[in-house]
Symmetry: C2
Subunit: 369 residues, 2 copies
Amino acid sequence: MEEEQHEIRTEMCSSGKEKPKADQLEFGRIFTDHMFLMDYSDEKGWHDPRIVPYEPLSIDPSSMVFHYGQSVFEGMKAYLTSEGDAQLFRPQRNFSRMNHSNNRLCIPPIDEAFALKALKQLVALDKDWIPEAEGTSLYIRPFIISTEAFLGVAPSTHYKFIIILSPVGAYYKEGINPIKIAVEHDYVRTVKGGTGEAKTGGNYAASLKAQEMADEGIAQVLWLDGVERKYIEEVGSMNVFFKIDGKVVTPALNGSILEGVTRNSVIQLLKHWNVPVEERKLSMEEVIKAHQDGKLEEAFGAGTAAVISPIGELVRGEKHLEINQGKTGPIAKRLYDTLTGIQYGKLEDPFDWVEKVENVKESALKASS
Amino acid sequence: MEEEQHEIRTEMCSSGKEKPKADQLEFGRIFTDHMFLMDYSDEKGWHDPRIVPYEPLSIDPSSMVFHYGQSVFEGMKAYLTSEGDAQLFRPQRNFSRMNHSNNRLCIPPIDEAFALKALKQLVALDKDWIPEAEGTSLYIRPFIISTEAFLGVAPSTHYKFIIILSPVGAYYKEGINPIKIAVEHDYVRTVKGGTGEAKTGGNYAASLKAQEMADEGIAQVLWLDGVERKYIEEVGSMNVFFKIDGKVVTPALNGSILEGVTRNSVIQLLKHWNVPVEERKLSMEEVIKAHQDGKLEEAFGAGTAAVISPIGELVRGEKHLEINQGKTGPIAKRLYDTLTGIQYGKLEDPFDWVEKVENVKESALKASS
Ligand SMILES: Cc1ncc(COP(=O)(O)O)c(C=O)c1O
Ligand SMILES: Cc1ncc(COP(=O)(O)O)c(C=O)c1O
């Protein structure tokens, strides 16, 4: 991308939409006044970065994204501190993961630093949309879609990179709450050699059926590997951790697991606290055995949406494994409190994870002038 | 769908676009004057079927199809006979396969008979777009996309079913021509328990990388199973057949292979001709062994686009297996001639495969009145 094209043109909406009340906040249904867009063509590369009013996209019915699913996305959040500052949590990791996904999906890489700059500018402009209430935040969805109007099965020559923002409510309305999950036996999310380590639509499309077939009360399904159907991979759209006999174990990144930003942060925190943590193959059998032996102390999912999601019960066919008497365990609680504490600026940030959205008003003004 | 909603409203374009010249015809780049659309919502079911001018869709950036790949598609063709009639080849199979895909992707089923009626009406209206030259046809792309403006990972409550049409050139410009394919070892297309038997975008997105990495001259990659990486599944976007020691063998439908309309037609024709045909597991080793023993007589892909695609050379790592001296084999040739003969109305249709688009002018007139 040429230097002068790094300038982000901004077209402000004429009148802002009404913002949702604190008690109306859901997940991902309401969007802010503006969005960021940038186009790609094989001739021009990524070009025309712009912030424009949030509005429908006009896309040819033959565009590749509708037919061959060539797309990637990311998910992260902006948090409001008690001082009224907006801040992001390790956003660099999301854009570098996006490029990792891009590589698998044959999508041209983005300039990560520029994407972060654009994101900050967008968040700054729509800063009034970041909700204030405890546990609420502004969900950030960067995504790339293939837009060439062509039905051939080949990488697209045209793309759009878009960032949209959605104010979201607290994940736990009544405090952190353990969920019930079920081991999935019929369906798999992905397999080694597939797209599992990329954040691409097809993985999520493939996952819908298992959730639909799951019994009532099952919050998420636990995915086993697609080859041997023995090893634990992820739970729903979270990475998963088990505390067994004093050690915290999480499946090693094997090519079919998404490398979560939360997962990485959990591992760093545990090491910092001198809690033994292992990234390795973990079979369902081992977890069941640990439970039988009274050594399965805790289990929890980790991801941007819930941060930490304690698992109170694990269902496998007829077997029901209760974990930590169905209650949130001490490690899950400590991780949740620490991570959210850092995210909302209430706790110190020893790892430099937080990225402030600086000069909010100034950058917005500069952009629109 | 209510009975009265079965009426297809038609909005004609004001002036038709210029049609491509016979020698300009490619695949899937040019679209006809009209398209068919129908909406779905959980409250109304499928509703508002309509034929309208071909134009961009206006879709919210948060629509699920952009993020979670919940989509399915089909591909078939309309052929012009020497009498000037338009005809379809086993279109019922495409719409029933679409419902099979819908089921896997948690998309509500369509009324197959109604979809066929809508397709015929659309083809009739744009009949002048069906090219006349030898081997050309009108490619038909029905597809469904999820359009709910919501970022939750759950089946969408809103969809669009769309049919677009594209005049396409002859697949073989200089007669049927053997291709070179390579066995794929790093990447897999899908796996048992995944979405392989559904025609959904994610499978095609996953397949792009292998093709990108393939050596020059490799037309398509041969996919092995995702579990053992031993058994043959498909080649590119075609089903695959090997003639070994007098018998034609094709991989059995195992849950990760797409059931091709061409595949089914090939099997029926072979049975009709008393050529032994087997649907079973077929390992790469068996094919290599047959080649060593001089018993690999032919190999070919089968799919709507090329109909029959003879395989002249199979590359596996350092090994190059030449098949039938790199030439089109007699079975491939006979299948190609028979299938295209039936499709273009030059040969008898003993299996009742052809579906005429009747009363072309009349139905178009009725629709627009
Ligand atoms: C499949 C999957 N695994 C894990 C995660 C957790 O990743 P992160 O912690 O970056 O949110 C996500 C998404 O959030 C996911 O979609
Ligand atoms: C993956 C795949 N396999 C096989 C086929 C062949 O199916 P059909 O003969 O119905 O065109 C196709 C598509 O055309 C395909 O995409």
